[in-house]
């Protein structure tokens, strides 16, 4: 096997691993509210979400080959790799993509460990930007397009991310307020039952939309690697096995359930009732679908978090834990640079080791080591279906909630 072939295998495996983390990182976006209100049991919720992600991923047959073009210049506009990166059987390009993916996964796992929802797309883009900066310099990054249309890191990633939580929050706050106004005078037990059905429906829609939006990105990255190493030539289609494996990876990740993040979104941010859950997921579903329909897809994570927060603002008397929100926003702000830093550092390390087989194996080994360490650390304070809905204030001494979460309560001085 040539160096490029081994690199390609590494890229495919690491890309699928990224897709898997993308899945469990984002289960919360669709299902946290339904799990928190008991509309669905935790297990049923994540499996439903996984199945709908699988269906969604297969429905997204639109070619996602130009996915990296939004942020970096390693492809031409028709999806082919830039010819100058194809020396050595494409290994230059493959190394950048590999380092970028490692940056994305590392950040996804770290934020999962801390129970923070952060955008998987931002982590992927951040990693790719970092690796490209290291490999090609600042001219390799598409900062702002050519100004004629929305493009580049600023136009497609940073500006939408700054605005999307506010849009989603506004929609959800208005929805929640309306729902409570309209159902005033109806017995609580009656409304809860009805709204649980609405919640399940709206959460399912968000799950499906997630599958169509997110699995595409990994499909695009893998196909780019295949083209760069000369294993695929068609820029109009992607190989079926790529689509199938990406769909399965994201669905498997989703069905595993990122319980730490589900807990933060469902219990930590706001105490959610079924009407709020419906308003939040309804707002998320509408914003995600409308924005991708209009060609400016917004991050599912930012939208879902904004919606849940908005549903707390819109319900009179609801508890909104602003310090939790501040921690999330902090994580969002550093997602791009942090994933970028890991992407850049791993590229430098691989380059120092000759930029070939040895370098690629060493940085992949680094990824495996870091992932294992974070997984083992998570076992010390596991969050699972049995405790995901435990009271946030930690009044129960058996509550194995996150130490990070408990530190937060100390900051907030919440009454036990």
């Amino acid at each position: 096997m040539t160096t490029a072939t081994v690199l390609l295998v590494l890229v495919v495996v690491v890309a699928l691993a990224f897709d898997f983390t993308n899945g469990f990182h984002d289960t919360a976006n669709a299902m946290a509210t339904s799990i928190a209100t008991g509309a669905l049991t935790p297990r049923v919720a994540v499996v439903l979400c996984g199945v709908l992600n699988l269906v969604g991923a297969f429905l997204s047959v639109e070619v996602a080959l130009t996915v990296t073009n939004a942020v970096v210049k390693i492809q031409t506009s028709d999806g082919l790799p830039r010819p100058e990166l194809l020396t050595g059987g494409g290994s230059d390009l493959l190394l950048i993509v590999l380092a970028g993916l490692i940056g994305g996964i590392t950040w996804n796992l770290l934020t999962w460990l801390l129970g923070l929802p952060s955008s998987s797309s931002h982590a992927l883009f951040g990693g790719l930007i970092g690796a490209t900066l290291a490999g090609l310099g600042t001219s390799g990054v598409n900062w702002n397009g050519d100004g004629s249309k929305i493009d580049g890191v600023i136009g497609k990633v940073v500006l939408p991310a700054l605005m999307s939580p506010f849009i989603a929050g506004l929609v959800a706050a208005l929805g929640t307020w309306l729902v409570y106004r309209i159902t005033a005078g109806v017995a609580a037990r009656f409304t809860e039952k009805g709204f649980r059905w609405g919640q399940i429906g709206s959460a399912s829609l968000v799950s499906l939309a997630h599958g169509t939006n997110d699995a595409q990105k990994t499909m695009g990255v893998i196909t780019l690697g295949l083209i760069a190493s000369g294993h695929w030539t068609d820029t109009e289609n992607i190989p079926f096995w790529v689509k199938a494996s990406c769909a399965i990876a994201i669905a498997a990740g989703t069905s595993l359930g990122g319980w730490r993040i589900i807990r933060t979104l469902g219990k930590g941010l706001v105490e959610i009732t079924p009407p709020q859950g419906l308003a939040a997921e309804g707002a998320s579903g509408a914003v995600i679908l409308i924005s991708s329909h209009l060609g400016l897809p917004l991050s599912t994570t930012h939208v879902a978090t904004g919606s849940i927060l908005g549903s707390g603002v819109g319900r009179p008397g609801a508890v909104v834990r602003w310090p939790v929100a501040v921690r999330m926003v902090a994580a969002w702000l550093i997602t791009l640079p942090a994933a970028g830093l890991v992407g850049a550092l791993t590229w430098y390390v691989a380059d120092l080791l000759g930029g070939g087989l040895l370098g690629a194996l060493v940085i992949t080994g680094f990824l495996v080591a870091v992932s294992t360490a974070m997984f083992l650390h998570s076992r010390k304070a596991p969050v699972h279906p049995g405790n995901v809905n435990a009271e946030w204030d930690g009044a129960n001494p058996d509550d194995p909630a996150l130490p990070a979460v408990q530190a937060l309560q100390t900051e907030q001085h919440l009454p036990a």
């Binding site: 969604g56 429905l59 997204s60 047959v61 639109e62 702002n144 397009g145 100004g147 929305i150 493009d151 580049g152 600023i154 136009g155 500006l159 939408p160 605005m163 849009i167 989603a168 506004l170 929609v171 959800a172 208005l174 929805g175 929640t176 309306l178 729902v179 309209i182 159902t183 005078g185 109806v186 017995a187 037990r189 009656f190 409304t191 009805g194 709204f195 609405g198 709206s202 829609l205 499906l208 939309a209 169509t212 009407p275 419906l278 308003a279 309804g282 707002a283 998320s284 579903g285 509408a286 914003v287 679908l289 409308i290 924005s291 991708s292 329909h293 209009l294 060609g295 400016l296 917004l298």
Partner: protein, 102 residues
């Protein structure tokens, strides 16, 4: 700054459409729940002790209508996802939705 205005142009469209669908549909669903409670009567509505409200069939009919509209719009949303995946798009040019090539 040009990018800012381009992004803003898209974002306000997203905001308006999302407010109509994302807040409007949950509100319509809530109208359905309220109508259903009115239609069911008895303990579905808050009432004083011993004077349970009578059921009103019209409430059930109105509830059915509300839920049907919500389901219809959500159904269109799913068609939108599926259609765009297959390189088609949903068009409202002829008032009722049709699927056409992008």
């Amino acid at each position: 700054m040009h990018t800012l205005s381009l992004v803003w142009e898209d974002l306000w469209k997203i905001t308006v459409a999302s407010l109509i669908l994302g807040a409007g549909l949950p509100a319509l669903f809530a109208v359905g729940i309220r109508s259903l409670a009115y239609g069911t009567g008895g303990d579905a509505e808050e009432h004083g002790a011993g004077i349970a409200p009578a059921p009103h069939p019209i409430g059930r009919a109105l509830a059915g209508l509300c839920f049907a509209i919500v389901l219809l719009v959500v159904g269109l949303g799913i068609v939108l996802i599926v259609a765009s995946g297959f390189g088609q798009e949903l068009s409202f040019d002829s008032i009722y939705p049709t699927i056409q090539d992008k």
